[in-house]
């Protein structure tokens, strides 16, 4: 708080012209007391209200507080150095990463730039309390990356993350429901070269299922993006969190991974995924989700489309089969009749 030891100097214009509006407030009061209490979207709205408020609301310090309180993993030095290269610092980072990504249309004229690496900043929350944060860097230049299926793993094979969540062993379904309602994830992919970021997670999980073999609960968060067309018309970018039970009833996170799948269920290679991701980052609309289930709605739409596509394909194949059989029979019959009745 700004402590004024002597009575403040006279404010010449503000008190006489617009009495009692927010402009009579000393800018220090506004900044230190009021703007620090606002959350991200409200602060963005305040910045659009008038030029005075714009100047006050675009302080990087305010936005940095908001970002670090939303995503604790931002505090990592790699990430903070990249964010400082963004056009308006934390403010543009927040506007890129906070809303949900909507990317429906693919334009063929998109030019990809080669980035050396991609940074993933991941936070998992349970009941809005962060339980796990990690920053991972993936290089994207080597051939191995380009040809192999795109996959980002956060935990080592035997590395587990202990949490304080209690595993309810009573009914098997109650734990699944508990996770579905309370667990949220934020996976922010940052492209340092293009200086953009995007949030790949759907906020709330799109599906929570128990794995048939291991008995672990797999929580899936997915975003749908537009791809090239054909079987890559829509691409699903899914984050899988596998949680298992520990002795003693606690829950531990065993695997956190991200992968890209097309409509056939095939994993995209590194090169293809990079194209899709970069386009989504540049051209994707960021829309504020009205309720938490928008991401799930879109995922279900995607699943529905996949199913329809599969059915259509099967139908076509059947038709094709019939046509081939008929053609074959016709040729057979005609050739025999030709031979017999010559």
């Amino acid at each position: 708080m700004v402590a004024l030891s002597t009575p403040p100097p006279q404010q010449p214009s503000s008190t006489t012209t617009q009495d009692g509006t927010i402009s009579t407030l000393h800018p220090d009061i506004l900044q230190t007391h009021i703007l620090t209490l606002l959350d991200g979207p409200t602060l963005a709205a305040t910045a659009c209200a008038s030029s005075e408020l714009y100047a006050l609301s675009t302080e990087d310090k305010l936005w940095r507080n908001i970002c670090t309180s939303s995503w604790p993993s931002i505090n990592d030095p790699t990430v903070s150095s990249i964010i400082s290269t963004f056009s308006s610092g934390h403010r543009s980072f927040f506007s890129d990463s906070y809303p949900l990504l909507h990317h429906h249309h693919h334009s063929s004229s998109f030019l990809t730039t080669s980035t050396e690496y991609l940074v993933s900043s991941v936070d998992i929350y349970y009941k809005d309390v962060p339980i796990f944060s990690k920053v991972e860097k993936n290089e994207t230049l080597t051939d191995w990356f380009k040809c192999s299926p795109f996959r980002v793993d956060l935990l080592e094979p035997k590395e587990f993350v202990q949490t304080l969540i209690q595993y309810q062993t009573g009914e098997k379904d109650s734990f699944v429901k508990q996770l579905e309602e309370n667990m949220t994830l934020s996976w922010i992919l940052i492209d340092p070269k293009r200086r953009r970021a995007m949030n790949l997670s759907s906020g709330r999980p799109v599906s929570v299922q128990r794995h048939w073999l291991t008995g672990e609960v797999v929580v899936k968060f997915a975003t749908i993006m537009a791809g090239d067309g054909g079987e890559k018309e829509f691409v699903e970018c899914g984050v899988m969190v596998c949680c298992g039970e520990k002795e003693g009833g606690g829950m531990e996170v065993r695997e956190i991974s991200m992968g890209m799948e097309d409509m056939e269920g095939r994993n995209l290679t590194g090169k293809e995924s990079l194209v899709v991701l970069q386009e989504a980052m540049e051209r994707g609309e960021r829309r504020k989700g009205k309720c938490g289930t928008e991401g799930k709605g879109r995922y279900e739409e995607f699943v529905e489309r996949k199913r329809e596509r599969k059915e259509r394909k099967q139908k076509m194949e059947k038709v094709l089969d019939m046509v081939c059989i008929v053609t074959g029979i016709t040729i057979f019959v005609s050739s025999w009749s030709f031979i017999l009745f010559r």
Binding site: Q11, S23, H26, E52, S92, D96
Partner: protein, 486 residues
């Protein structure tokens, strides 16, 4: 009575009172500045009998001078003055008369006199209780406020203690400029409630919530005033209330609530959406805004439009229809900024012409000549009526139509927008969209209906053919292979 070290405040106060003499005469105590030593001074002052302490002293309360303790005998002059300090925590046991508005949690300062034995002595208590502080607001009005209420504000407290102000009307404490009398009243209400230690937290919270209920203008004034007086709890309370008001509002609502001017450019407003230089949709939006601004400016300049613009409009309709039907994909002259204007005068002229019926008959004839294959020969009015209902959807189709193949030559003269980093295909697409939107803007109602009606007819016939073929194919396939597939 014990002698203790002198407190700083006491000495300050004492200094003020040093010159005064209390005289007890005829049941009344008087306070007066002595003219000369040895004289008897006369004056009158009201005093209230409070009670007695032991058998020796009688307490009197005087409004200006404080508490006085006297022996009921006359005195003639001072010999010596000594300061004593006596803490009376509970004066209830000391007095018998009712106390009116007393808060005796302060220290009593006792001046004792060492008088020669043949003089009686007067003991004066100078007590800081229920004394008033004078406050002066920026507009000159002076108010009297109970001291303990005013002491809740650190600034006033400091002024009293360090500068010794506020004890009388002439030495009133001048408050900062942002504090006007109405707001001062509110602040004092707040202080009056909160400085009493007896209220529970719940009571304080309820009081605060009720206190905050005022319009935003008052709330802002209150925040400024509280901040200038450094009253931190009130500043926190009002800031939280303002933050709660701002939360969840759109920029327009915020502007409305606080009466702010809308003085940001569109680009600045759109900035949070991302990099505006890269996102083509944002650039399109900016272009349209810039164009609209330009149009408005030009409309202002040229208020009266001539009939010669009608020709430009006619041509635009024909060309428009021609490009829709794919006949000649050539230059559209309408893209010039002057021709693209959509002023009311043009519409009026157009309507007059409609009534005259000379040009109106021309237009449909010309149109029908061009679209002989698609347009049924119905009078334009009927078409308009039929298609009127469907026009909104058709408009949207029109806007999204990127399948139309033509390359207009656009006359863009907003040089401020940098097109360099847009790749050509994207630019073409954008240009197409802009041209179409431009068309809509430049057409007046009549032309619009014509265009839309003709488009819709064309579309319907095309679709019909295709739908028929598809339906046939499906039907055929179903018939042949239906049972086998299922």
């Amino acid at each position: 009575m014990a002698r203790n070290t002198v407190r700083k405040e006491a000495s300050d106060v004492k200094l003020r009172k040093r010159e005064e003499i209390l005289v007890f005469e005829g049941g009344q105590l008087r306070s007066e500045v002595p003219k000369a030593k040895g004289n008897l001074v006369v004056g009158t002052q009201q005093s209230v009998l409070l009670g007695s302490f032991g058998a020796e002293f009688i307490f009197y309360h005087m409004p200006e001078a404080g508490l006085a303790v006297v022996k009921p005998e006359k005195i003639y002059n001072w010999v010596e003055l000594e300061l004593l300090e006596l803490e009376i925590l509970d004066i209830q046991c000391l007095h018998q008369a009712p106390m009116h508005t007393f808060f005796l949690s302060y220290y009593l300062f006792i001046f004792s006199l060492k008088l020669p034995s043949f003089f009686d002595f007067v003991v004066v208590f100078c007590m800081k209780m229920k004394s008033y502080i004078w406050l002066q607001t920026a507009d000159g009005s002076v108010q009297q406020v109970e001291e303990e209420v005013a002491m809740f504000c650190p600034m006033i407290c400091r002024e009293i203690i360090q500068a010794g102000m506020g004890s009388s009307k002439n030495h009133a404490i001048s408050l900062p400029q942002r504090v006007n009398p109405a707001i001062l009243g509110l602040i004092l209400d707040y202080c009056r409630f909160h400085h009493v230690p007896g209220h529970s937290n719940k009571e304080r919270k309820t009081f605060d919530e009720k206190f905050i209920r005022m319009d935003t203008k008052r709330l802002c004034e209150l925040t400024s005033a509280a901040d200038s007086l450094q009253l931190k709890p009130l500043v926190d309370l009002t800031s939280h209330a303002l933050a709660r008001i701002i939360e969840g509002k759109t920029p327009e609502e915020i502007r409305e609530t606080f009466h702010l001017p809308d003085d940001l450019t569109e680009e600045e407003k759109l900035e949070p959406l991302g990099n505006i230089t890269d996102d083509p949709r944002i650039r399109l939006l900016n272009r349209l805004y810039a164009r609209k601004r330009r149009e408005l400016r030009e409309r202002e300049k040229l208020k009266n439009v001539d009939v010669e613009d009608e020709r430009g409009d006619n041509r635009s309709v024909e060309d428009l229809l021609s490009f829709i039907n794919g006949e000649d994909g050539d230059v559209l002259p309408f893209a010039d900024s002057k021709g693209g204007r959509n002023s009311k005068n043009k519409k009026k002229n157009r309507r007059r012409k409609e009534q005259a019926k000379d040009d109106s008959s021309n237009n449909p004839n010309e149109n029908q000549k061009k679209e002989s294959d698609t347009l049924p020969s119905v009078s334009p009015n009927d078409e308009v009526n039929d298609i009127l209902a469907a026009s909104p959807s058709k408009t949207s189709y029109f806007q999204d139509c990127s399948a139309v193949t033509f390359s207009p030559k656009l006359d863009f003269d907003d040089a401020d927008i940098d097109d360099d980093d847009l790749d050509p295909a994207m630019k073409e697409e954008l240009d197409r969209l802009i041209a179409m939107l431009d068309c809509l803007h430049s057409l007046n109602e009549f032309n619009l209906y014509l265009v839309l009606s003709s488009i819709s007819c064309g579309i319907l016939t095309l679709l019909k053919q295709q739908l028929c073929s598809i339906a046939n194919a499906i039907f055929y396939m179903d018939n042949r292979f239906g049972p086998e597939i299922m």
